[in-house]
Subunit: 153 residues, 2 copies
């Protein structure tokens, strides 16, 4: 991903493109692995030793506030971040922890109970066992691995 292009996008969204912001947003754009703040920090701090975790949080919230990043609440104890802001859902494998994009067709009609509400965000989450954990597929994208199993039942 071209660094200049990332910079341009940030500017377009009224975000001053500091070095750290570029690197963090670039990480999200290149590795579409729905990382946690800590995963981003651990990966970038190797190249930017002075990087602070607070900067990662600050930047992620800034990006989210401007609509460049979506915050996923699919994992229990930590937020995950996604630079893909197009409408789509997510699947969490509760065995290996991987998160996959879910695209769908069709629509939900007549959302009963929301007649007079404004909707700013929608989230669609699925949880279960992924194809690899079921032994039906070979692991393909090494960037999408998770730290470890969360569920051993």
């Amino acid at each position: 991903m071209d660094c200049g292009k990332v910079e341009q996008t940030l500017r377009l969204y009224q975000i001053k493109p500091s070095y750290h912001r570029i690197r963090i947003y670039q990480y999200l754009l290149e590795r579409r692995n729905h990382p946690s703040a800590d995963m981003i920090f651990q990966s970038l701090v190797r190249e930017i030793p002075s990087l602070s975790k607070a900067t990662v949080y600050n930047t992620l919230h800034l990006l989210a506030g401007k609509g460049l990043v979506r915050i996923l609440g699919i994992v229990d104890n930590e937020a995950r971040f996604d630079a893909d802001t197009m409408l789509h859902g997510h699947f969490l494998c509760t065995f290996c922890g991987c998160i996959q994009d879910v695209h769908f067709q069709g629509a939900l009609n007549d959302l009963l109970g929301l007649e007079n509400c404004t909707i700013d965000e929608s989230h669609l989450y699925f949880k279960g066992r992924c194809a690899v954990c079921r032994g039906l597929e070979q692991p393909l994208e090494p960037g999408d691995e998770a730290a470890g199993p969360e569920n051993s039942s």
Copy 2:
């Protein structure tokens, strides 16, 4: 809600109906306000002074594990609990913090990406501003109030 009926349901789901478990599940059944663990604790500890917060967590996870309760990940920093296990979504008002049930018709077809996965749970969340906060409805159900605003922008 009849206490004996609650007891029966617990037994049906292979949960030994101790006093605390009955009270906690009864709370969830009566007050359909999607409470946090702390809200349940604060409410019940007034009548059961010896109640421990660990018991609330233990019981909620037990109920969730048996399928009697759903854990909602709609709020950022805390889990919410719902005794209604029928398929439905939820709406969070980011201004007053209230959570409303969302029922819908229609279906999502062709969940691309999940072809070889098993799905154990699905969650549909919306966030926005509720009818009351928009001034279009009068507050109706006092049991569904939240602690305070989470968003003042």
